[in-house]
């Protein structure tokens, strides 16, 4: 599907700068929400840049935008501040990935979108 660039740029505060919000009760929301349960207040934070693999898979059949990378590892990562993200694990032998493995976030190219070849960036994790 052809997506115009405003949709991509709208997400850059999260994808480029890991901007999140932490509510008064201590829960981190990534991406931040426009409204929190019961109107709870939240303050901006930046996500921790290291964490560990909670669970993972190795994708062999990928969508067109990612098929040149197969097989690639994807994980749910719990960062050291408790927030969780879904991310590709780059620069790794996929057979060596394990639950509990330490990883850190790096800024990487994610994919190329549409006929215009829009280069899309964001976060990936690599072994720490």
């Amino acid at each position: 599907m052809k997506i115009r660039s405003p949709r991509y740029h709208r997400e850059t505060p999260r994808r480029f700068r890991l901007e999140a919000e932490k509510t008064k009760s201590g829960k981190i929301f990534f991406p931040p929400r426009k409204y929190y349960e019961n109107g709870e207040k939240a303050e901006p934070i930046r996500l921790a840049e290291s964490g560990k693999v909670v669970t993972y898979t190795v994708i062999h059949t990928a969508p067109a935008e990612h098929s040149d990378l197969t097989p690639y590892a994807i994980a749910i990562v719990e960062l050291d501040d408790g927030a969780r993200i879904t991310s590709q694990i780059a620069d790794v032998d996929t057979s060596k990935v394990s639950i509990g493995m330490r990883v850190k976030i790096e800024f990487r190219k994610i994919r190329t979108e549409g006929d215009e070849g829009l280069l899309c960036y964001g976060y990936k994790v690599v072994p720490e």
Binding site: V54, T57, H60, P63, I85
Partner: protein, 386 residues
């Protein structure tokens, strides 16, 4: 609220159906349901359809289907909750009859998935996940369920053999279902050596891409007793629906399905029954791990015991807790919008005693569980033969 009965069932043979369009399939299933019930009209329709737009370049499903079924100007509502669209359509149809607003309502579902390439279908399905924070980074639906499987294996010791047994069992059942897309058995070895899709899930752990439609007719029990009484009466005793976060990573526990648990609790409470009272269950086995996790979420098994149940034959047709006698999504096929309705059809067919070679022994209470995305939405319905 009044009691509501399922009085008509309409299906057709599912598969990769080059000769049948979105509108053809829905019309065929709906006519079959109306003929099965013996109704000469319907007051309204609810149609589960995940993505007429992305799969078949067609929205405005309500007008289209009313037109082609020849029932304009009745109200028709198209319902979307990803792969749970059919279950939600059924629930809304039930509500409309239960409330007394309408007498005879059709609940249907349809998806035409093979008019586009496999890549495009994979993309369309991926829109049921969080597009910006899951799909963007390259995770697929098999990938999301694979991550649930890996976590479940780590926490409970669930094995690859147990996952494969789910597929083997469902194909054994589907082999006896003339409407199934893949009506043949598969061996454990074939499943365990099939093409890798998203580790640890292989091709034969995954439900297929399917063209298909399904429809049922609902009316009040009162009207059913009076006019549509030539079959054993099947009544909707409980209905539950719930949501969870769209992204899998936002959930505190990746090895359980909260939306299924909440929907089940509501349905059990309304029906006044518990897991031990259920004679047969149709669950949303979009991937083998999903059958294991949904049967646990429904309370049929303790957390971590779902895999062993499949391996030990507990969920087989002749086991103590039969699951997916239809063949499930795995063997019967998974035209996403139609799946929730087809589950109701299997339960009703079994409760009527009409399931032929796959009939189980005299069931009285059945449960259907339909799920959207990676568990972001779910419905549970409990049906009883009276």
């Amino acid at each position: 609220m009044r009691d509501v009965a399922v009085v008509g069932l309409g299906l057709h043979k599912w598969g990769e159906l080059w000769d049948l369009s979105l509108r053809d399939m829905f019309t065929i299933a709906s006519r079959n349901a109306m003929d099965d019930a013996g109704v000469d009209h319907i007051d309204s329709m609810y149609i589960g359809c995940m993505s007429g737009g992305l799969f078949a370049a067609q929205e405005h499903i309500g007008s289209l289907m009313a037109d082609y079924l020849g029932v304009t100007p009745i109200p028709v509502t198209r319902v979307e909750s990803a792969c749970a669209s059919g279950g939600v359509a059924f629930r809304l149809a039930w509500m409309e009859v239960a409330s007394g607003l309408s007498e005879i309502v059709l609940a249907g579902g349809v998806e035409k998935m093979t008019d586009i390439s496999g890549d495009e279908a994979t993309f369309a399905l991926s829109t049921a996940a969080d597009t910006e924070y899951e799909g963007y980074v390259g995770v697929t639906f098999p990938g999301l369920y694979a991550m649930m499987a890996a976590a479940h294996m780590q926490k409970y010791g669930t094995t690859l053999e147990q996952l494969a047994h789910v597929s083997v069992k469902n194909h054994d059942n589907g082999a006896l279902n003339p409407n199934a897309q893949y009506p043949f058995p598969v061996t454990l070895e074939t499943v365990m050596n099939s093409t890798m899709v998203a580790e640890p899930l292989r091709l034969l752990h995954c439900s297929p891409i399917t063209d298909g439609a399904a429809a049922v007719i609902l009316c009040s029990v009162e009207l059913a007793r009076e006019k549509y009484n030539d079959r054993p009466m099947v009544v909707i005793k409980g209905s539950g629906q719930a949501t969870d976060t769209i992204a899998l990573h936002s959930r505190a526990d990746i090895t359980s399905l909260k939306a299924v648990e909440v929907a089940a609790k509501k349905a059990y409470g309304m029906a006044g029954v518990g897991p031990k009272d259920i004679d047969l269950t149709e669950v949303h086995d979009c991937f083998s791990i999903a059958e294991i996790m949904t049967t646990e979420a429904l309370g049929l098994f303790e957390p971590g015991e779902g895999g062993a149940a499949a391996e030990n034959g507990v969920t087989s047709r002749d086991g103590s807790t039969p699951v997916n006698t239809s063949g499930g999504l795995k063997s019967k096929g998974h035209p996403v919008g139609a799946t929730g309705i087809a589950q109701i059809i299997e339960l009703t067919t079994q409760l009527r005693g009409d399931a032929g070679k796959r009939q189980i022994n005299n069931p009285r209470v059945g449960l259907a569980q339909n799920m959207g995305g990676s568990g972001g939405s779910s419905t549970v319905h409990i049906l009883e033969r009276q």
